[in-house]
């Protein structure tokens, strides 16, 4: 009970080893009768062959559309009768699964999750329904400047790697997708090896160790294949997608750092001050509060295969895009040249250290955090030392990292809309 409450800055994460070699990270907490599990493999949409963009995403959707003896509607009823939230997601560089359930429904959640992974039915009618749904989703993404800018940004930054393609596929690739292609995506991605697993909530280590072999026992041995090596972020300058809209959306980015870079945490401080959440960032002050140019602007690390790039976004009236970009670039350059003030570093460190307990308030979020740590190959005690590492940072040290990280001339910009004066 309340193991978290008694040690606010030491999160009791333990590694649980199950028979058969599977290991999970666990935060145990019996104060609420809820359990969350999350797991993932590397790969995701990066493993889709070029002519089958979206195969892994369609596979993710189809895993919960019928499995074992249960057809789609029966499978959905089984989940909802017990309020089990089970889902799978294809990402640019990985594939995640997970569920949240009341502790009383845990055996049923394990049974259904195992069925979904080991015995998906892929019935023809379910495939057609999911195909129709994903095609519509792909087309709807093209209806907004945000969707258009995002497509342009990723395809320009990674023109020669699968991460540059839309994870969900294109209307054309989805229309042509065969059941064999979907089955192949499941076969290469869902493996007994290469698994990272996290759990949180009302479950003991013994109970977790006992259920893991059951959950994954139907999967073939061996890890998923490796994706093609990720090339560096390609600086593409500026790309404008003409699109009828009163407001333009801008997505901007530049190369970042490897997650194991010794300056990783200092870089987090830099980005928090320049462009982080909430109202305290320099960009939010300069672009929104002082000039009223936008509803929101922010940027942060986006990690692909343990390499981060800096990605941000802003939306503004077409007539004011040029000014918004100018102000943004000037703030970028000022931070690169001068670094932050002492007070800014203190505030950012206070936030980053003080907000840790808030990450540990719901089981799904805790499991997600544990999974993210494992994906970045952090040691299990990474969070224990984090606050000390952050507090040890100096203004000059952070300024040096700002100079190393931020490249105002390397910031690439994708704009969708009818921007004036670009």
């Amino acid at each position: 009970m309340n193991t978290i409450a008694t040690t606010p800055h030491r999160i009791p994460i333990r590694a649980v080893e199950a028979p058969g070699g599977l290991t999970a990270w666990l935060v145990e907490d019996h104060s609420v009768p809820v359990v969350s599990l999350a797991w993932c493999w590397e790969g995701g949409a990066s493993l889709d062959p070029p002519e089958q963009v979206g195969a892994t995403a369609m596979a993710a959707a189809l895993l919960t559309e019928g499995a074992g003896e249960l057809r789609a509607a029966e499978f959905a009823d089984a989940l909802r009768d017990s309020a089990i939230g089970l889902g799978f997601e294809a990402q640019r560089d990985g594939f995640e699964g997970g569920f949240r359930a009341l502790s009383t429904a845990l055996p049923e959640a394990v049974r259904l999750a195992r069925l979904a992974m080991a015995e998906p039915r892929l019935d023809a009618d379910a495939v057609e329904r999911v195909r129709a749904r994903t095609i519509v989703a792909a087309r709807q993404r093209l209806e907004t400047p945000r969707g258009q800018a995002s497509l342009a940004f990723w395809s320009s930054a990674y023109p020669d790697h699968p991460v540059g393609r839309p994870v969900g596929g294109t209307p054309e690739s989805l229309a042509a997708m065969t059941v064999e292609a979907i089955r192949a995506a499941i076969g290469r991605q869902l493996r007994r090896d290469g698994l990272l697993i996290a759990a949180a909530g009302d479950i003991t280590p013994e109970a977790l160790a006992a259920l893991l072999p059951t959950l994954f026992d139907g999967l073939p041995a061996g890890p998923p294949p490796a994706a093609a090596p990720l090339p560096p972020f390609r600086e593409f300058g500026r790309k404008v997608v003409g699109f009828d809209s009163p407001q333009s959306t801008v997505i901007f980015g530049q190369p970042g750092l490897a997650v194991n870079d010794p300056d990783w945490e200092a870089a987090q401080v830099v980005l928090r001050i320049l462009a982080g959440g909430g109202f305290s960032s320099r960009l939010m002050q300069a672009v929104r509060v002082e000039r009223g140019l936008t509803y929101g602007i922010g940027a942060g690390f986006d990690v692909l295969f343990r390499r981060a790039i800096v990605v941000g976004s802003v939306a503004t009236e077409n007539a004011r895009v040029a000014e918004t970009l100018e102000v943004t670039r000037a703030e970028w350059a000022r931070m690169a040249a001068e670094g932050p003030t002492v007070a800014e570093v203190e505030d950012a460190v206070a936030y980053l250290t003080g907000s840790l307990p808030l990450q540990f308030t719901d089981s799904r979020r805790i499991a997600g955090t544990l999974l993210a740590l494992q994906r970045n190959r952090r040691p299990i005690d990474w969070l224990d030392g984090r606050n000390e590492r952050l507090r040890a940072l100096t203004r000059d040290g952070v300024a040096a990292v700002a100079g190393r990280l931020l490249k105002p001339d390397a910031v690439s910009v994708a704009v969708a809309g009818r921007p004036v004066g670009l």
Binding site: I4, R100, E143, A275, S280, Y295
Partner: protein, 479 residues
């Protein structure tokens, strides 16, 4: 991708996800009536039924602030939510967007907190803060480490006692709100359609037909005096509900509330008077062709009673009806439209816990090769059959089971209890509406669902809406 959502609007009611439910008070037309009903003996609590959150509830004697408290020692954190019983539904005539604009300006300082400092102080202490405006409520909240509770209580109380609402930042903030409108609505053809559809059903100047963020020309017309007047009128302690959940003891919290909020002067709060549902829709059919749209959309909405207005006895039954009609796989609309290949998706929606007249809706996205007429007829057939034959016992039992199975999952979140409790109390419903909603829903019978369906679906004013790509064939939609 960072997505900035703070000081944001929410379209649905705060607790919409769980559709808190309660036995109906005796047909109150307004929240003030509902508040009066709160003191009456509500429906009996079923024996053996435990409250969901076990909240403590009291009022400050001096100024009438309602306080709700849920102790939760799971993690050393605490959430403070302050709900005002006012939302976009109270925007003055010709000034839609005032409630939301004011929410933005509430971050521009109060007597002892300079402009912008609230959020910066919360961040420095490791916390997050935000606010939202719905049609029914305006709420401000912070999630912080538990020892910071007195600090955020002091700052929030300062904002109740006297927000600055200064002129210096007013025009820049108007630009921010206009950009927010462009982001949420003007740049998104589906959002443009939803806005037009609400206006078609209720009328563009009815409190239910105006967008929460406001019509663009009215946002431009809002004056600082509008905001100050709205604040003076509605932001009284007596019209507010403070909800705190987290790792703090009740005795300590009671002391803190008295210390920080107890001395705020009492002010008279007006009753909320919402116009009843009109006798007919503003426009019975809305057909909008939009060159920005690639996929068509169908929607139909009826004016419907809620727990606070109209035939309140139907409110729970309508929740069940929405689920069995359009709650995903296994629902009637899914079987008739999606499984048959007419539609890509279909569903139904209804919120019982809102203030004043509400809406019951069905919607679908047709497959591209399916003519709109055909989809609409199929949807009409589903409704007709349901009205003719009524639902089956099994359907009702299944819906109730699925709607209530996950009630306890709300405990797995710091914000769920204060959002549900605050959103309910701030529209004048009793706390039992939250604490015992699963039992209230389980009491719904097949006959009640059938009766509620017959009372609303054929008879109530309604609007059919179609959003179509610009190149959709002419004549494919009934005019």
């Amino acid at each position: 991708m960072p997505l900035v959502t703070r000081r944001s609007i929410t379209i649905a009611a705060a607790a919409a996800a769980t559709a808190a439910a309660v036995a109906a008070p005796s047909s109150p037309a307004t929240a003030a009536d509902a508040a009066a009903a709160r003191d009456n003996a509500g429906p009996p609590v079923p024996p053996g039924e435990r409250p969901l959150f076990g909240a403590q509830l009291w009022r400050l004697p001096h100024n009438g602030l309602t306080v709700a408290f849920v102790e939760n020692r799971r993690a050393p954190v605490v959430a403070q939510y302050l709900f005002y019983g006012v939302g976009a539904g109270e925007d003055p005539s010709g000034r839609s967007g005032v409630a939301h604009f004011l929410e933005h300006m509430m971050f521009k300082g109060s007597r002892n907190v300079p402009s912008g400092a609230f959020s910066q102080i919360v961040a420095r202490e490791g916390g997050n803060d935000n606010a939202f405006t719905s049609r029914d409520v305006t709420a401000y909240f912070q999630h912080v480490e538990a020892s910071r509770l007195p600090l955020v209580m002091r700052m929030e109380a300062d904002r109740v006692a006297g927000a600055t609402l200064g002129a210096e930042e007013f025009e820049a903030e108007r630009q921010v709100v206009l950009e927010e409108r462009r982001t949420r609505t003007d740049s998104n053809p589906r959002a443009r359609f939803r806005e037009a559809f609400d206006a078609a059903l209720w009328g563009p100047q009815h409190w239910h037909g105006r967008p929460i963020i406001g019509w663009e020309d009215e946002i431009r017309a809002i004056t600082l005096d509008d905001l100050r007047g709205f604040y003076a009128r509605w932001y009284a302690p007596e019209n507010a509900v403070l909800v705190v959940a987290g790792d703090v003891r009740e005795a300590e919290f009671r002391r803190l509330v008295e210390q920080e909020y107890g001395a705020i002067p009492a002010r008279e709060a007006p009753r909320r008077m919402r116009a009843p549902a009109p006798a007919a829709p503003h426009e019975p059919r809305l057909i909008r062709r939009d060159p920005g749209v690639r996929e068509a959309a169908y929607a139909r909405s009826w004016m419907a009673p809620t727990l606070t207005a109209g035939e309140t006895k139907y409110a729970y039954a309508l929740e069940v009806l929405a689920h069995l009609l359009g709650g995903g796989q296994g629902s009637r609309l899914f079987k008739a439209l999606v499984e048959t290949g007419l539609a890509v998706g279909a569903g139904a929606g209804y919120d019982s816990d809102s203030l004043g007249a509400g809406t019951f809706s069905v919607y679908a996205t047709p497959r591209r090769e399916v003519a709109p007429d055909r989809l609409e007829s199929a949807a009409d057939d589903v409704l007709k059959r349901l009205l003719d034959e009524g639902p089956t016992e099994e359907e009702v039992a299944r819906s109730i089971r699925q709607m209530t199975a996950g009630a306890l999952l709300a405990l797995d979140s710091l914000g769920a209890a204060p959002r549900m409790i605050g959103g309910t109390l701030a529209i004048g419903l009793p706390i039992e509406a939250v604490e015992y909603w699963p039992a209230r829903l389980r009491a719904v019978t097949r006959a009640q669902v059938a009766e509620a369906a017959r009372a609303v679906l054929p008879a109530a004013p309604n609007t059919v809406g179609w959003l179509l790509p610009a190149d959709a064939p002419a004549g494919s939609v009934r005019g």
